[in-house]
Symmetry: C2
Subunit: 188 residues, 2 copies
Amino acid sequence: MKETKQEIIDAAISVLNADISAPLDFIAAKAGVSRRTLHRYFSSREELLGACAQDMMLTWQKAMLVAYNSTRDPIEQLEQMLYAGIDCGVKYAFLNKLRDHVDQELLQAVPDKQYEQARDKWFRRVPGLQRKGIISRALPAPWIKALFTGMITTTIEALRSGDVAPNKIKELAWHSFSKSIGIGHQQG
Amino acid sequence: MKETKQEIIDAAISVLNADISAPLDFIAAKAGVSRRTLHRYFSSREELLGACAQDMMLTWQKAMLVAYNSTRDPIEQLEQMLYAGIDCGVKYAFLNKLRDHVDQELLQAVPDKQYEQARDKWFRRVPGLQRKGIISRALPAPWIKALFTGMITTTIEALRSGDVAPNKIKELAWHSFSKSIGIGHQQG
DNA sequence: GACAAATGTCACAATGTTGTGACATTTTAA
DNA sequence: TTAAAATGTCACAACATTGTGACATTTGTC
């Protein structure tokens, strides 16, 4: 059986993702636990928020590193990183929101530098790949980064809506994302 | 000078988009108005939420219809609809969230059918365009729809982050979106 | 079963949020 | 200028949320 503390964190991420100000009652209910128990693990809302942020970052970071190290081919690295991002699921969408609401001190403990390491390492290669014509030269690097994170949230949203078959969705996501940044084109 | 009521709605959409449970004080402050005045226009939080939903839907609907009617070419229609979606800005991202929080009765008054009219009219043509090879046949229609809304939020997020030049962003969005659904490919 | 750890239930104070009334002040339009 | 409309300020009650203590109940382990 899972640790209660982790279950509360997971519930919190899920609930707070929909409503960052949701009462602790909702989070406790989602975790199948009384509010009193929640408070035994997290003395305050602020502390819970911080734990969520830390949990998310570690999850994300680990997944990205595994993906990045799974191959030497940059295109395959990107594909694996996209899949890893999708697998992180709803947790990912929550990440940006938290930055506005969590006391920054609570995030200091997290190895923030490492967290972005894998993805950023990859994105520093973008100009080189563009020179080789592998990625469209028409697209600025920050836009490519935006498309990457955007495709993850798009995919998660599509999954949540239930309109797209789940077993095909990663394939679709990579297909569309790779095309959107010009992979597979011959552009001299 | 703008109507106070509309200013409050705009402020509410902006604030609630970041935090659906944000106190009315924040909304009033954003609107440059006292909380008491806010309550003179909206007797309850619920009523304000409903007004936001209605306002958004009408804005979105009008923009889509204008875009749709601006040309007969389906590809150009799609391009214009994407631009219209981006122009609706932060308002759009709010729309889905509201569906979970607003009493559905308050949305009944809105011509919901019409709201989706233009976009849905377009998306019903997708199979035909796929048969002609204009859009990739590998992509299910719901996924294309997800990509459309996803590209809008991606673009808005990129704008908000400040990492991508605003004057080029619509162009980038259309470039990447059209590629992501297979427009411009020769696929037999 | 017996014991310890974890959890639940209830009560409670402190604080935050909402919605309203009364009245002062400012803005608008004639 | 003046009267009406709009807004601001303050006070207030009702309600929601948070965090904690005291004690009962359940769960896991020997």
